[in-house]
């Protein structure tokens, strides 16, 4: 079988090589290093005693688990983490669903602008929303509280609201996840063939009956899957618990990991405890994802492919459309306008005082916080670092997932099935945990503290999203377009570059923009992985916040948000043009 073929008589011939896939193997290797090996390091770390790095020689022990799981703070941490993630989904899901339904199925005014309206909040850092709401709902100086106290004549000097509480945490968290949840739910709604509902209507069922007997049962698995997905997302949320938790006295899994990673003067390295908590988070994530996969499989059974451009009949809202629009407007106000306005206000103040008339005399307006940013360190270093990492992450991720998408769709084999599985694994791993695992893998190596490591962390995090995007884009690309190129004499690589990638440009660009903006607004990777040599804007904002310099961090966040918005708007324009072409 493996003997040399009689190729010498026919020079232009090649050996059979259908089972050799060097490209697929190298992609798999990259994925394994990015996704699986770090987890392996986390497992190792969780069994090492204090003072030892994962690969150091020395004994193994279960004491990190014992220490982590028997501590007095263990039960509250688990309870609060589950409460935070669970309540977040419980409140956000109905709201996001109503918004999605309004956009997809009703004649609400401005429904076509929802994509822009929702993309703006998606690109603002959670930390900015959190800081904004601290300034609005802080128990003492929160603007809303000050006004309410004046209005109702309360002179306790505190309350009535307190953002530093579980309620406050959940409130900001819900605001934060609604936009992305809305995006997912519109997809679920669009997947369903409206003909199924119209058939029920035609057979005499009332709108309400149709909703109950056809729409709801068909959508339930899809909506539940979205809920589970955001539950796992809730486990990994770090910025918000970090902004509000310590003052509120609430510790979650993510903040526990963060704080126990911080080097303290008296203790040396002790990565066992964060690793043990990481294992716990991983278990929760995997469990959630297993349920998610089951549900998604169920929905795909229901999915009916609809004809191109086929839109369901829109429900006329009548007078209710203003109520609907008002609800959306209220959300945008709470999520974007109010927090951004108060940050903007704070960024021009020398010392913070609430925007209330009685303090007008104390308002010392200044540009100092901005001029300070102009010095070399911020724009020349931290800001550039953030930009470099975001651009690198977006480019690397999208190149990698484009290739994966092509392999999986066009060269299906056992190997590409495996690639697909590994590429989707990050969905099951809460982001904080995958970043922690990368930290444990690279701490003590030369790569630690470089921008490259930060880039890799983002690539690992956005891998699943990108794979999904490029997979469906690839499915829409008719195979014969590539085959025509091959039949014309172009080889695989030429075809991939000249035809496949070129035609995928719109999808590639929107994915690129998405990753760029998300990497630029993300705080958790920077806070967990950055060190002296690789400081990002996020680290500086957090430091200023911790040091009580709210106005400074407000100014930096204003710059970051503005930058992100410009990118989103400009990027959408470019993508629009490339699609129109």
């Amino acid at each position: 079988m493996g003997s040399t073929p009689g190729a010498h008589s026919q020079p232009a011939l090649f050996r059979l090589r259908q089972f050799r896939q060097p490209g697929a193997l190298s992609v798999l290797a990259v994925l394994v290093v990015l996704v699986i090996v770090p987890l392996f390091f986390m497992v190792l770390a969780s069994f090492r005693p204090e003072g030892l790095l994962p690969l150091d020689p020395g004994p193994f022990t279960v004491s990190p688990y014992l220490e982590a799981f028997t501590g007095a703070d263990f039960r509250p941490i688990i309870r609060d983490t589950l409460l935070y993630a669970g309540l977040g989904v419980l409140f956000a899901l109905p709201i996001a669903f109503v918004f999605a339904f309004l956009t997809e199925r009703t004649d609400m005014p401005l429904r076509n602008s929802m994509y822009v309206l929702m993309f703006v909040p998606m690109s603002t850092p959670v930390f900015a929303t959190a800081l904004g709401w601290v300034l609005l709902l802080g128990p003492r100086g929160g603007t809303v509280n000050v006004y309410l106290r004046a209005l109702f004549g309360i002179d306790s000097g505190e309350g009535p609201f307190n953002i530093f509480s579980m309620t406050g945490l959940v409130f900001v968290h819900v605001l934060g996840i609604i936009p992305t949840m809305w995006l997912f739910l519109t997809a679920v709604l669009r997947q369903m063939d409206p003909a199924l509902e119209e058939a029920a209507l035609a057979s005499g069922a009332s709108r309400w009956q149709v909703l109950r007997t056809v729409t709801a049962p068909l959508m339930r698995p899809g909506v539940a899957a979205v809920g589970i997905y955001f539950f796992v997302t809730g486990l990994e949320s770090l910025e918000l618990p970090l902004a509000l938790g310590p003052t509120a006295g609430i510790e979650l899994l993510s903040t526990k990991i963060f704080f126990s990673l911080l080097p303290s003067a008296d203790l040396g390295v002790n990565y066992g405890i964060p690793a043990a908590f990481g294992m716990l988070g991983l278990a929760m994530g995997v469990l959630g994802s297993l349920i998610y996969i089951r549900l998604v499989r169920q929905t795909s059974q229901f999915a009916v492919i609809t004809g191109k451009g086929y839109r369901p009949r829109l429900i006329a809202l009548g007078r209710w459309k203003y109520v609907a629009l008002g609800a959306v407007a209220l959300f945008i106000l709470m999520k974007v306008v109010l927090p951004f306005a108060i940050l903007l206000y704070a960024s021009f103040l020398r010392f913070y005082v609430p925007p209330v008339l009685e303090f007008a005399a104390d308002m010392r307006w200044t540009l100092l916080h901005y001029t300070r940013l102009l010095d070399y360190r911020f724009f020349g270093s931290y800001f550039v670092n953030t930009l470099i990492v975001a651009v690198e992450a977006a480019t690397l991720t999208m190149l990698l997932v484009s290739f994966i998408g092509w392999l999986v769709v066009r060269r299906p084999s056992k190997l590409t099935d495996l690639i697909n599985v590994v590429a989707f694994m990050p969905l099951a791993i809460p982001g904080v945990i995958s970043t922690l695992a990368l930290f444990l893998m690279f701490v003590g190596t030369p790569l630690y503290g470089t921008l490259i490591l930060l880039t890799l962390a983002f690539v690992a995090r956005y891998l699943a999203f990108g794979t999904r995007l490029m997979h469906s884009a690839m499915l829409q690309l008719h195979q014969e377009l590539e085959e025509a190129s091959q039949a014309s004499g172009a080889n695989n690589l030429q075809t991939f570059i000249r035809i496949t990638l070129r035609l995928l440009i719109p999808a590639f660009l929107s994915g690129w923009l998405w990753v760029l903006v998300h990497a630029a607004k993300d705080f958790s990777v920077a806070l967990l992985l950055a060190s002296a040599g690789s400081v990002l804007v996020a680290n500086i904002v957090y430091e200023a916040f911790i040091g009580g310099h709210f106005n400074e961090s407000a100014a930096m966040l204003v710059v970051l948000i503005t930058f992100n918005l410009i990118f989103v708007v400009a990027g959408r324009k470019v993508i629009g043009q490339s699609i129109a072409q």
């Binding site: 073929p5 190729a7 011939l13 090649f14 259908q18 377009l481 025509a484 091959q486 014309s488 695989n492």
Partner: protein
Amino acid sequence: MIEIRGLGKDFQRAGESVVHALRTVDVTVERGEFFVLLGPSGSGKTTLLRCVAGLAVPDRGEIVLDGVTVYSGDKRILVPPERRGLGMVFQSYAIWPHMTILENVALPLTQKRPRLGKAEIRERVARALALVGLEGMEGRPTPLLSGGQQQRVALARSLATEPVVLLMDEPLSNLDARLREEVRKEIRSLAARLDITTLYVTHDQVEAMELADRIAVMHEGDILQQGSPEELYCRPEDPRVAQFFGSTNWIDGRMRDKDAVETAVGCLAVPDSDTRAIGDAVVVAVRPEDVELIPDAPGAVPEENYFRGRVVSNVFLGDHRVYTIEVGGFPLLARTLASVLVGGDISVRIPRERVCVFRAGSRNEIPSAAGS
């Protein structure tokens, strides 16, 4: 020119049973021949074409193009598609939407080694476009072209490098009926003029008859019969081949003699055959246009295969009519230009040499794995 020997390909999807897309296919296409692969949906035509192009890898067998082995399962030889030097027209046309007509047609030319100059490429693109009647349209963007124009661009692209072998996969199926007829003629005359060896896939037997020098009829991964259109039409070796070309009267019967079959219609004289024994159950195929209607003339001399019946119904189809004649209780279809009275008695004659006899039950049989 194209030699395909013992070619086989199976598809196996996870959790599903194996699909034998090609079982054991042997086809030889001579230089300059227009060869059509004809068969119902799912019979493996596209798979065979893609194997020849190198876009699909067969599991066994051998393909030789112009004396060069491009695939051999035994010798483990596989030449990638870009090295086979073929022209190919795809069912979806596969016009690259991000390129102009010029760029589409020029791409195969830019792959030629030694490299062609810019001017040379432009000239050859212009020549290819002129060939398909699109002269001067080089700069047009492609997404707005009509179906017929896209089809022509695809044809021009496949002809630009002046390949000796051209592969086409149902290139006319996306066109409307009139345009299809027009383009069909063009393709035929183009292929003859350029002396191109063409392998053409279709499931439309009219198209196949009009275009082909020879036709191979495929069914579930096997070739049932290959030959000239006339051979296939008049001397089908398999009832499914007969079934494919136009409508047929299928009459069950039993061999009464070496050259006679007892049927419901009566005793039919058939061409002599040694392969069937007396008493064998058979099925007889008679084409409606081979059923001659003879107006009842008293005192006419009864000839061979001469039967009496009654005209039951009549369908007018413009240039001809189809009558149903009840003969011995059997509804026999007859196609004719003449008009006869419905309800009246009539005589029919079936020329012996036009009758085909097949083994009973062979119509619904699954073809055996071994090709003949």
